[in-house]
Structures are given as C-alpha cells and as structure tokens.
Point group: C2
Chain length 525, copies 2
C-alpha cells in the first residue's frame, strides 16, 4: 500500500492545504516520506458533516453487522502485514516485537468489542411493566436503553501508535457504541496512522457502512484538533496524552455552547508500595520486575512506576542495590520523538539539580539520538512532601524512591498524591494486615489496585479499569480500556408507552435480540 | 417537633451567624418563624470534615444496614405527620394533598434505593479469572466493583420541597451509593427543610450511622453554597433548579483544582407533538389532559409542557378551542415564592408584548398574592424559528402553540430546540408511521420519549430517565430520578491479584453477598 500523505474524509482521500510535516525516525533523525499536510477547515467540516449524516444509519445497524465491521477492521489491520510493522518501527523507534504485540492487542480489542456488540448488555435494557390498575395513578409502560451520544472525536496517542491511536481503544469503543469517529492523527506517526486509517476505511467499504462512519485528519499543529473539539456535531472526545493537552481539550469542550464530555487519560506516577515482608523475602525478584516495568517501552507507559514508597531500612537498600545491579546492563532505549526525549532530559536535569534528590542508579548511557538513559532517584519522605514538583510525572524510564520513616509517612504521602491510574502493593503473608489498611485510601486515589505486580500491561478485558481520579483522567468515572469503556459514549433514553411497533428492537416485547433485560428491577437472562 | 432555626452538623444543631431569613407564606405574604441564619465558614468546614471522616465507615456498612437506614429515613419522615404537611403547605402555597402525594413519593424513593442497595447490582461486579498458562503472558485475576465517589453536596430544589429537596432523589441516591451528604437547604422552605433534616438526623442516630453521614446547612444567599461546591472534600454535586444557578455551580466545580461532576437538572420546555390523526379523533381529550399537565402545581414542574407543535389546521383550532374552554374555569394557582411569581409575570409580559405572539387563552385571573394566571400563546413556525427567546422556558402555567406549515417545519423546530427532558407525541393509529420517523431525532434531543401522555408525573422506577442533553441537564449521560440515578455517585475500581482475604466482600470468591456477577464477560445470577 502506497502512502499518499492525504487525510481520509469518509471514503475519500484528500490532500491537505496546511503546513507540511513528516514522520521522523527517532533512531536516526531521518525524515520519512511522504509529507503530510494539515486538512483545510472545509475538509474538517466535511468530516463532521458526513459523520453526523452517518450517525442514524450506523447506530441502528443490526448488532451482527456492526460486530462484523469491527472484526473486519481487525482483519484489514492484519492484512497490512510487515508494511505496518516496518513503518511503525521507523516512526516510533519501537522494536518490531513490541509493535507486533501491540497489533495483536489492538485486533483483540476490536474483537472484544464485536462480542460486546453481539451480546448487547451495554444497552442496559430495563422494562418497568405497565400497572394499569395502580392507585392513585396508572403506572405507564417504561423502557430504557442506552443510545450512542453521536460522532466522537478521537485523538491518537503518541505512545501507543496502534492500541491507543487511529483504530485503538477509543475508536473501537466509540464504533462499538454506535458512534461515527473523526480521528485526529498524532503527528508523531503519520504513516502508521494513514495505513491504519486506510484499513478502517477499507472495512467501512467492505462492510457497506455509511461513508461518514470514519474519517482521519492530519494536522501539524493544534488548530484542526481545537476546531474539531468545538464542532457542534462532535458529541464526545477521547484522548490519551499529556496533562497540558488533555486539559486544553477539556477547557475547549467545557466552553462550548453545548458542552460535551471529554475522556482524557493524562498523567500518573503509579505509586509502588514495598512492604517490609516482601522486601525481606523477595527484594531481588521485586527489583528485577521493577526494572523491567520501569524500562518497558523506554518508560513511555501511562502506568509506568514513577514513585516507590517504602520504609527506609537495610531491606530497602538491598532492593536498591538489586535495581542498581540490573540497571547497569540496561541499554538506553530510543524514545518516540525528539520532543519527548527533550522533556525527559529536562526532567532528569531538574531531578539531578534538586538539592533534596540523590541519584541512586542509572542504566547504560545513550549511544544514539533520542535515547533515554534509565534513572533511579531517591528522596526522603519529608523532602518529598515539601517539594510538590517531585510528585510530577517523568515520562520515561525513571523513578524515585521515597525513603519513608514509617508506614504513617507512606500513608501521608499517598493522601497528598493526586489521582492515579494504578497503585501496586508488594506484600508477603506477613504484610497482609498492614496492606489491608491501605485499601480504602487507595480505592479513593486510584483506578486499579494491584498486588505483587506492576501497572504496565493493561489487560483488555471486562474487569479492567484504566482510568482514575483527576488528573490521571479528566473524568474519573470512566475507563479507557476494557469493555466498560463503551459506557463513555452512551447515554440512557426512556420510552414511555411507546407502541411496540415503534420501539427499537432492543426494547420490543418479544425481545428479538435476545438481550438480558432488567424487568421491574430484576435481571432476566 | 419545635423548629429551632439551626443548621444540622452531623448530630448537632448549630445556630448560624449569617444574615437572618424567614420562610414566607406565598398565599398571604405572612412571614414564618423561626428565623434562619446562614452557617459560618467554620460550620461548613465541620460539615465537610465529618462527612469525609464518615465516608470510609459509611460506605463499607453491610448492605442490609445501609438499606435499613434509608428505610428509617422514610419512617422518620412519616413520623412528622401533619406537622410536616402543614409547615410545607405554609411555606410553598402547595395544597396538602399534593404535599402528601409528594411525601409518599419521597418515602417510596427511599425504599426503592433500599432495595437497590440490598440487591447490589449497582456495584457492577465483574470478575475476569486468572489464566495462569496464557501465552505470551499470564492473565491476572481482575475484579471490578463500583465504589462511591465521596461526600456529595445536594442543593434542595424549590419546586419539590420533599421529593427533590433535603431527603429527595439526590440525597437518597447518594446515601444509597455510600456517599455522605452535605445538603444546602433551599431558602424557600427552611422549616420543611429543618423538619426533614431532623428526620434524617434521627435516622442516622437510630441506625448508628457515622455522625457525618448527613448535614444540613442554611444560608440566605449563595455564599455557603458556592463554598460548599469548592470544598475539596466534596466529590460530586446534585442540583435541581434554574439554568443560571446550575451553570454557576458547574462553573465553580470545573474551576476547582480537582474538578468534580455536577449533576444539575436545569431547564426544559418539553415539546408536545400533536399529530393529525390524534387531533382529528381526540382533540378535546388531549386538550383536557394538556391543561391538567400545564397547570399541575401551578406549572412549576421541570416537565411542564411549554411548547406545542402541530400542523396549522381546523383540527388544531379545535384543540385550541378546547383548551380555551377548559382554561376559563381554571383558577390562578399560588406560586412557590414571590421571586418565581415575578419571573413568571416577566415571562408573560414579554410574550404579550412580542409582535409575533398572540395570546389564545387564559385561566382565571389572580385573586391573591403570588398567584399565576394560566396562559396559552401562539406563534407561527417562522416566527418561532426567527426568535430564539420564544424557545425559553416560562416557569409557570403557560405554553406556546407553534402553528406549523407542515411536518417538515415541526422537524426543523425540533432540530433547533436545545436538549430537553421529555418530548410527548400524541398519535392515533394513522399517525404511527409519521411518528416513527421522529424517534431517531427525539432520541438525540431528549431523555424521555412518551406517547399519548405528558411529561409531568415522573415515575420513580428502574427504566425512568429524568435527564437529557444539555441544557436540560448539565450532564446528559445521567438521570436524577429512578434507580439508575445512583450511577451518578459511583466510579469503577479494578482489583488485580488482590488476595481474597483483602478483597471487599462484593468481590470475594465465595460471593457472600450473593451478587449477580459478570464472570469473564458473562452475567451469572
């Protein structure tokens, strides 16, 4: 498949008129072709218009057809074969194995949503039966289903060029819900975006979905993205990226004449709690797993373990020694973009110059452009509490160990931390009762509590929450991974005394879609 | 029970220090005693502090105890007997029968939430079982439940002094979810608020709930309410009232360092569509039901039918003649407060002075203070589209008939209307196909679609949606009535590889709470 540098407006390819930009190989600094140009306002307008036009037909497709469409997107993605893997590797510096893994995840995600659509539980069908003789007034026949909110704008993320980008979780969830998608490609991987966008476009064509079901827009800067968020036909936003970017989109969305929900997954330092028993018995094993998690994908994961909390002790020193030993042989990894690399370097410099911070260990030094050297810092609990900036995310393979006086200090630090995606507790049998006392606090601070593991590796399943209190996400009631993420793009509608023939299929008396329904409040399968 | 004029901070009664205000009998203009004074900043702070302190214990109460507490609130409310009915009638001008009906509704609402708590479906328990042999990596054990968001601030509404006020829907839903409530009383019915607040306080005491589970704050103005929304311990807001008030709270909540969700139910004109067949066969019956709905509670319902859309025809004239005939004998009704009455009079004046508007019919003239005379206006479709102000809510017993050229004009007007709580379609057999074509549009514009009825009379049940796209509510994904309204105060948390002994009961392997659970994506009862 030849790359054209064009945006996809429904089934068409259009050349942009804005300033040109290129993909860039972060390993070599080499410019990648073709050039991409930002779409015009007219193209943006067309994408939103056809999305709105497609909405009624798309949302009322039979579930089997919408499910098949999602599966076909996955098939067309696989059809891209090594072309996709190679281009993506060039644009991101990520190894082919990681990209293949991410592709599997992305396809599995589409398939999971296909099964969600087929099953139909996400519709939350409820029926309160008419009580014609009820006094003092008759109870009407009431039926409820969830409907999709309307066209959704999805912003591709730089750090997961497949799983959180053009056909990633936000797109899959929105399409599953019945919402057309207008995607703004991340400029860090335009070729990957075009390839994946074409796969979606081909699936739209193959499955005879309405043309406006999917569009993909390129732009070098923020202009088209900002306008997209403000377009009255867009009804919700999915975003994974920086706090600054997410908050900018949220503020635009809130200022609209008709505000819309913004689901921005933004920043997290994912505290790791090392309990005494675990440190006593398994310091070396934990150190090994910790380094693997911290350095995974050059630390460019939202769930990267950025802060380690433990009581200062010889056991903690043993853990640190273990980390130091392993880190010594960890090569520097190429980061996704020069901008991300520069930001990481700035974070490191700030930490190194901070009077309260010591550098405990480093990985191998960089040998090529945009490479990130792993770093482990340490700080005392008092200094950590005194310096808010130490709790900020360092996006990259770096973490800070907070040497705490006691468990009370650990608790105080957790109370002061902002909302997080995850918290990891490393415990042995002896630590269980102490760990128990942290759970109520963590439930209020994070979206996922995990034991004896690390937050990297986010399962795409039904019980996953990849979200958390602000600012880890802009809307802490949501998850951006897993089947529950479809809820972000739905709202309930109630139908009162609507004649059966006029009800949507999901609500008809004879239940043609064979859905689980809540009848008078009780679930019936 | 003697009224004290004090606010309730947990189990205590405190005298305020702010400026004094009184209840007022809108029928007589008589000042009601005692005086109420705004709480101090210290009292507000104490209410939020004890709510936060109560949270962990309250949210983990066994379901049976929390359910019993909700039922006890209802019992204590009933114990107030005629004292409550009489005080409420004096403060609101509403007839005793209406207040008794609203009391029944309020108690039934508490009982419904008690059963929701006992059943436990709102927890949305999901379990993805460990797959230890999965390649390339093990799947961890993942479990999800919803947790309450934290202390909730509830703003009492003026127009439902019981059902949407101190122990109304927002309070019941928040308490059911496991959230302590800090309620800001509406100054239009302070005595009613104090009585109901004491009933809740007594239930807290009787059921040995944590003291901070409930507080009730008085204030003459907006200061305490504003500070309450900004208090970092408050995690969500429930509000029913004006668009101006709701948006002010929303803007405060969005500007917080940690923004929180605001569920404000604000304004709606609830379009009524009269189809030709229905007008042909039942113009008089519809006219009668329409007048009853329009004048119910002096038109002070969020679901009041404010706009009637129909094709201009002799049949429509027949409907209007029917309305005129009935209205002639409808007495003016006392409105809740002088301020609401003044606003209604201003709306009427604006309509009467509007060049494009005719007055078709009126009810009986006012004979006492604060009485609202019912009005029916009419306007052409073109004028309606040309003058945005004609689509604004007139809070009171008034409605405007839009005489439309054809069904296309009706559709165009619906497309231009802002988001609404309800839309009513009056149809006969012959109208069904035409009505069908409106449903996709209405699904996007309103929260409840109803046939051959009116939106007033909001069933408290499982399939009810009392919410709708902005600006009918600030968050169109929510309902403020019915069992689904509990979702507003919940967020999901995922537990990964958490030892069984440390899991909350809802998630334990042996399912001690006997909850319906989604295992590997499939519901198991």
């Amino acid at each position: 498949m030849n790359l054209t540098g064009g945006s996809l407006i429904g089934l068409d390819v259009v050349s942009g008129e804005g300033s040109a930009f290129h993909g860039l190989n972060p390993r070599t600094g080499e410019r990648l072709y073709p050039a991409y140009k930002g779409v015009s306002q007219a193209d943006l307008d067309a994408a939103c218009r056809i999305a709105a036009e497609a909405f009624d037909a798309y949302r009322e497709m039979p579930p089997s057809r919408r499910a098949r469409f999602l599966e076909t997107v996955g098939d067309r993605l696989m059809d891209l074969g090594t072309t996709l893997v190679e281009r993506c590797a060039s644009e991101t510096g990520l190894p082919a194995s990681r990209i293949e893994g991410e592709r599997s995840r992305t396809v599995a995600q589409l398939k999971m949503f296909a099964s969600v659509v087929r099953e139909g539980d996400y519709l939350d069908v409820r029926i309160d039966r008419e009580l014609s003789d009820r006094q003092p007034v008759r109870r009407p026949d009431l039926r409820l289903r969830n409907v999709p909110v309307g066209p959704v704008a999805v912003f591709g993320a730089s750090n997961f060029p497949l799983a959180f980008s053009v056909a990633g979780g936000d797109t899959a969830a929105a399409l599953a819900a019945g919402c057309p998608v207008v995607c703004k490609a991340h400029p860090a991987h335009p070729g990957t975006s075009e390839l994946v966008g074409k796969a979606v476009q081909n699936a739209v064509r193959d499955c005879a979905m309405p043309a406006g079901t999917f569009s993909l827009l390129f732009d070098a800067g923020f202009d088209i993205g900002s306008r997209l968020v403000q377009d009255p036909r867009i009804k919700a936003i999915g975003f994974t990226g920086s706090r600054k970017g997410g908050m900018a989109l949220r503020n635009l969305a809130m200022a609209r004449a008709v505000p819309i929900p913004v689901y921005a997954e933004m920043s997290s330092v994912n505290p790791v709690l090392l309990f005494p028993g675990a440190l006593h018995g398994r310091a070396d094993d934990i150190a090994k797993a910790f380094v693997a998690s911290m350095c995974l994908g050059s630390g460019q994961f939202c769930t990267n373990p950025g802060i380690v909390l433990a009581v200062d002790s010889p056991k903690l020193d043993r853990f640190i020694a273990g980390v130091r030993e392993i880190l010594t042989s960890v090569p520097a990894g190429t980061m996704l973009t020069p901008a991300i690399h520069e930001a990481y370097e700035r974070s490191l410099t700030a930490m190194k110059q901070h009077a309260a911070v010591s550098c405990l260990a480093t990985g191998k030094a960089a040998t090529g452009p945009n490479e990130a050297q792993a770093h482990l810092f340490s700080v005392s609990d008092e200094a950590f509490l005194a310096h808010e900036e130490l709790a900020e995310e360092m996006f990259g393979p770096a973490s800070v160990v907070v040497r705490c006086k006691d468990m009370v200090a650990i608790r105080r630090i957790l109370q002061r931390l902002e909302g997080q995606l995850t918290a990891s507790l490393h415990v042995d049998e002896a630590d269980l009762e102490q760990a128990r006392s942290f759970i109520p606090l963590l439930e209020q601070q994070v979206g996922r509590i995990l034991f004896n593991g690390f937050g990297t590796g986010v399962e795409v399943s039904h019980a996953m929450v990849h979200g958390g209190p602000f600012p880890s996400t802009s809307d802490g009631r949501s998850t951006s991974v897993g089947s529950l993420s479809i809820d972000r793009f739905l709202r309930p509608v109630s139908y009162q005394d609507v004649p059966d023939a006029l009800l949507p299929e999901a609500l008809r008396q004879d239940n043609p879609l064979k859905l689980a329904r809540r009848i008078d409040g009780l679930l019936a399968l």
